[in-house]
Symmetry: C2
Subunit: 333 residues, 2 copies
Amino acid sequence: MPNVQRLERGPMMTGGTPLRSLDEDELLGRILPGFPSSDDLVVAPGDDAAVLRVSGPLVATTDTVVLGRDWLDAWSSGADIGHKVVAQNLADVAAMGGRPTGVLVTLVADPELSLEWVLDHVRGLAEACLDAGVAVLGGDLSSAPPGVVMVSVTALGHLDGEPVLRSGARAGDVLAVHGSLGLADAGLRLLQADAVDRLPVAVERQRRPQPPLAAGPEAAAAGATAMLDLSDGLLRDGGRIARASRVVIDLDPQALAGDVAALTGALGSEAALDCVLAGGEEHSLLATFPAGALPEGWRVIGSVRAPSDGEAAGIVVAGRAVAHTGWDHFRTV
Amino acid sequence: MPNVQRLERGPMMTGGTPLRSLDEDELLGRILPGFPSSDDLVVAPGDDAAVLRVSGPLVATTDTVVLGRDWLDAWSSGADIGHKVVAQNLADVAAMGGRPTGVLVTLVADPELSLEWVLDHVRGLAEACLDAGVAVLGGDLSSAPPGVVMVSVTALGHLDGEPVLRSGARAGDVLAVHGSLGLADAGLRLLQADAVDRLPVAVERQRRPQPPLAAGPEAAAAGATAMLDLSDGLLRDGGRIARASRVVIDLDPQALAGDVAALTGALGSEAALDCVLAGGEEHSLLATFPAGALPEGWRVIGSVRAPSDGEAAGIVVAGRAVAHTGWDHFRTV
């Protein structure tokens, strides 16, 4: 991942009403009414902290998006970014087998950012939370140097049973996926090539990922032995399960042929294969199950075995070891 | 609050090992072992999300600090910032009457930021969490444009009883404070004046606030009717309680004379009074109690009454209405 460039102020910051023309109370007065609540929210945003009734162990995770690194103003609306940052956080809750219940949202922005962008962003956040039955528990607003906009979300949820870790895959399990593969990366490539009409569904997935949230707790109840959400690509994320579980995961290229074929028309076969194997930001769920325990909606794409003598834990495709790859935030490449 | 200036890369970014020379796994390997855990942490950082055993209603809050707005490299070390961002978040949990149990920490930084700064920062975060018996549940690392460093913390806690809101103050209550007044702002002024030797304790309080965390649940158990932590100054925060509760709070200047006197030698009497009445970032607790219910460690600094005919809810000093003032993050002043 290259360094994030210093950005010139784009359209988000040159039209409409700049944030600096409102005081914090006025701004909160425009933002807070748009956020969904829930019956479990005992104290809503506006006090020192929110209070939420909880049942069972708490699941907690956090993920941040930064303008210029995670999105471009030209490619995604404020509402798109609201949807996306909520979706990627809730996917992490689901990937533990949890049911998301609430989020906290922090906006750190150049005071030149337009109020209109922020209100559109809030609409997207609120819609994504409402769709998932999740309340907005609170947040923070902060000013940032010129050109900087970032949104940080913390998601909370609860577990009905035991959490599903990355480390529980066992020899004899099957590897399965719930949801699409490579679509979000295909969308990114089409945006980069200014060719969004070639596969609009991929562009829409890049802008608004659709993690199968209900499938996480269903997989946990069905006995999933390991699970995560695909944020950094099948090879890299599958490799994480394999190494944490000290097993070898054998990906079945035949099982991925349909995913590759779906992208080949828009991208050509080589790029399509890249997207399916290494494409990030998909937020489908990847899990291992004991053979025969697969719940509805999951499809088998590989199998789990013990490493042979001297073989490292990891992921192999049709028997050949492959390097894990994907996003890296600080390394200059 | 003026806009945050675009910063030139300072010492944090010009010495030692830049973050960009490590990949994310290497960086996490340096950071995660320093963080405290707890017996209630079922799944520690490293999976999709953390899992925490909880009892009672959950308290959740979030607060972010930005280089150049909330701190300057020349004035605060990485460890200082770690202490401060944890303290201000935990203070919000305590101000609801809650006991903090865990935090999530996000670092968004220019990849030129030095690893040495980050490791020092992690030491400060870890110390502050350890002092408070709080576990680090997880976090996120993200790259940012040149010169940008920010740290966002979400704090979680639990309540033994009912939450203490800002809106519960009643006529006949006393207003009380637990902790110092104006010290952190005095420290800021001494740093600005390059005169830290005049009152080192104030500078230390500016760098590392000391919220009285245990006093929050104690106040709740003793029957506090309203509470918050002093982040934006006595007038502004006291005014928040008054308006939320639809009462008038009468500050007693005599009760503040000692606080002003303690700062007068270093700052002169006018600035000392400013610090006590309007100084931010103190993170002492401010609460209202029924007369006679004051727990140990709290001192009375005012009283609560119903507004007279046509009088607005708010805070008055020796009978005279005063404008609320303090920090505002987006308004250009």
